[in-house]
């Protein structure tokens, strides 16, 4: 037989897939930049004050928080998580199995999270640049000016890891949706009905309603002041999401229809 049989390792294939996904998904980075520009616009609007000084107006940027940028980057990560999970059928025609697909998807999500974190890290500087270009006498909030290297590192680390959590969670949901299709929607609906019914029953029989406190879930991470405990919590969450994603994709049939 003239056609040579090849045997590359799964990792070699996975690395090729990472390159291929990054190359063909450059649009994602354009979306991120657009979202950040929108974020900057809202940051300007919320924190902008003006007053008269002689014949000219003075713009002072008083209260910059990266919250808008965080939220928009999280939305972008969720979008990428779903996209990677749900638009993967093409890669199986081009040498893949579930393991290499999973590995490359997770690696790409990590790269996305790093890029998101880096852009958020530089948001203060970029904001200053934009402010200087578009406004007169632009002053960045003093809080930003007093940030040390460690603060920047914390901003970068928290941003990157939180983005990764949201991206991986979206990826997990996407994989479950692809794998179980209508059964996933029915399962989600059934779960919602069960929770509501349990809440009603609990309130009427036990006189004690069940509350699902989403805010406490966020507080679990956001109000943790001990750095290492916070890091362990976040890393364990990411590990759990990685594990669940792998279990969900393992033995999954692809391109059934």
């Amino acid at each position: 037989m003239n056609s040579i049989i090849h045997k590359e390792s799964p990792m070699t294939i996975a690395f090729k897939q990472i390159k291929d996904k990054l190359y063909h998904n450059t649009n994602s980075f354009v979306y991120l930049i657009i979202l950040h520009l929108i974020g900057y616009f809202f940051s300007f609007s919320t924190g902008m004050g003006f007053g008269s000084s002689g014949n000219s107006f003075e713009f002072i940027y008083r209260n910059f928080t990266p919250t808008t940028l965080y939220v928009l980057t999280i939305l972008w990560m969720i979008m990428q998580g779903f996209t990677l999970a749900e638009e993967k059928s093409r890669q199986y025609y081009m040498v893949s199995n579930n393991f290499t697909a999973y590995f490359s998807d997770i690696a790409v999500l990590e790269i996305y999270a790093l890029i998101g974190g880096t852009l958020t890290l530089f948001s203060g500087f970029l904001l200053q640049v934009f402010g200087t270009i578009f406004m007169e006498n632009f002053v960045l909030h003093s809080l930003y000016g007093s940030m040390g290297t460690l603060n920047y590192l914390t901003l970068f680390l928290t941003g990157t890891l939180y983005f990764l959590i949201f991206g991986t969670a979206a990826y997990l949901v996407g994989i479950l949706r692809v794998r179980y299709q209508t059964r996933f929607a029915l399962g989600a609906l059934a779960a919602a009905v069960v929770i509501i019914l349990l809440s009603i029953l609990s309130a009427s029989i036990l006189q004690r309603p069940i509350f699902i406190d989403v805010a406490s879930l966020f507080r679990f991470y956001l109000e943790e002041t001990r750095f290492f405990i916070w890091l362990i919590k976040v890393l364990l969450t990411i590990a759990a999401l990685y594990g669940l994603s792998y279990v969900s994709i393992k033995n999954m049939e692809v391109n059934r229809s």
């Binding site: 003239n2 090849h6 590359e8 093409r90 199986y92 893949s96 199995n97």
Partner: protein
């Protein structure tokens, strides 16, 4: 190289393949023939490792195919539903396939692209149905994978282009002999290039063998009704037709007919006519009972 042992696949209780067994050990151009829903695409997807068998096993390169990366890098599956990156041009898609398939012949791919007047920078989704089929086939052949599975490779193409592409498949096979499986409903247009036929019906392999075996599968017997009628009672008749009062024609299995003890006089009264593999395939897969004639004559 390829072996299916009692391969069975059900989709939510619906049978697609049932105890499908066959083996291909060396380079061949095999036609996988069957009507819609016979299980051809399911067989190909099982061999490509996309689908997990409900029962039995599909082996490629002596390994179970399902989600096997060693199998995946040596199998190229072409099918109508295959997807590509929407933002990429045809050349970029070729580059991607070139990265993954070690035997990929980029020079050949670009040559074929030029031959079929396909623009390198065109987007796949902007191509017409026939052109996208052509592009898929260019990719599949250029990949030069040891096992190449072509599921309905010429769907949506003009007859002229179809003929051209079958010729290209044959030339490519001669240049790089490997296992090529081509599925189609129409045996007639590709029987010129095939060596073997794998005939699938209702999820089962009805026959797997050389094309010549299919050429002698069935036979038409023609004579007066008084000669034909007694034979009809002894043989399974796939088609019977009267030509006026004095002539009746039946199509039967050649093997069954030859197994009957014949008198010399009977042989002299019968006119025997060969049936092409394409026609044999139509007779074997024809719906039993409730034919069109019955429907219109009721």
């Amino acid at each position: 190289m390829i072996r299916c042992d009692e391969l069975t696949k059900y989709f939510n209780g619906t049978r697609a393949l049932e105890n499908c067994s066959f083996e291909i050990t060396g380079p061949t151009l095999t036609g996988v023939i069957g009507v819609n829903g016979a299980g051809k695409t399911t067989l190909f997807k099982s061999l490509a490792g996309f689908l997990k068998p409900t029962g039995g096993e599909a082996f490629v390169l002596d390994q179970p195919a399902f989600q096997n990366i060693s199998v995946a890098q040596n199998v190229m599956l072409l099918e109508e539903g295959m997807r590509f990156y929407t933002s990429a041009g045809l050349k970029e898609l070729m580059d991607s396939y070139n990265r993954f398939y070690q035997n990929f012949d980029l020079k050949l791919a670009l040559g074929l692209l030029k031959y079929f007047n396909l623009n390198e920078s065109s987007k796949y989704h902007s191509l017409s149905k026939g052109m996208s089929s052509t592009f898929r086939l260019i990719l599949a052949l250029s990949a030069r994978a040891p096992i190449t599975l072509l599921d309905e490779p010429t769907s949506g193409m003009d007859p002229g282009v179809r003929k051209d592409l079958y010729e290209i498949i044959l030339k490519d096979y001669i240049k790089a002999p490997r296992i090529i499986l081509i599925s189609s409903h129409y045996l007639g247009e590709m029987e010129q290039i095939l060596q073997d036929i794998l005939f699938i019906h209702e999820g089962k392999v009805l026959k797997h063998g050389a094309l010549e075996e299919f050429e002698t599968l069935m036979i038409a017997l023609q004579a007066s009704p008084s000669v034909i009628r007694p034979l009809e009672e002894l043989l399974t008749v796939y088609e019977a037709k009267d030509f006026g009062e004095g002539l009746r024609r039946i199509v039967v299995s050649k093997e069954d007919f030859e197994a009957l003890p014949h008198s010399v006089s009977l042989k002299e009264q019968l006119a025997l006519q060969g049936i092409s593999p394409e026609e044999s395939f139509v007779y074997l897969t024809r719906r039993k009972g409730g034919g069109i004639d019955e429907l219109y004559n009721s």
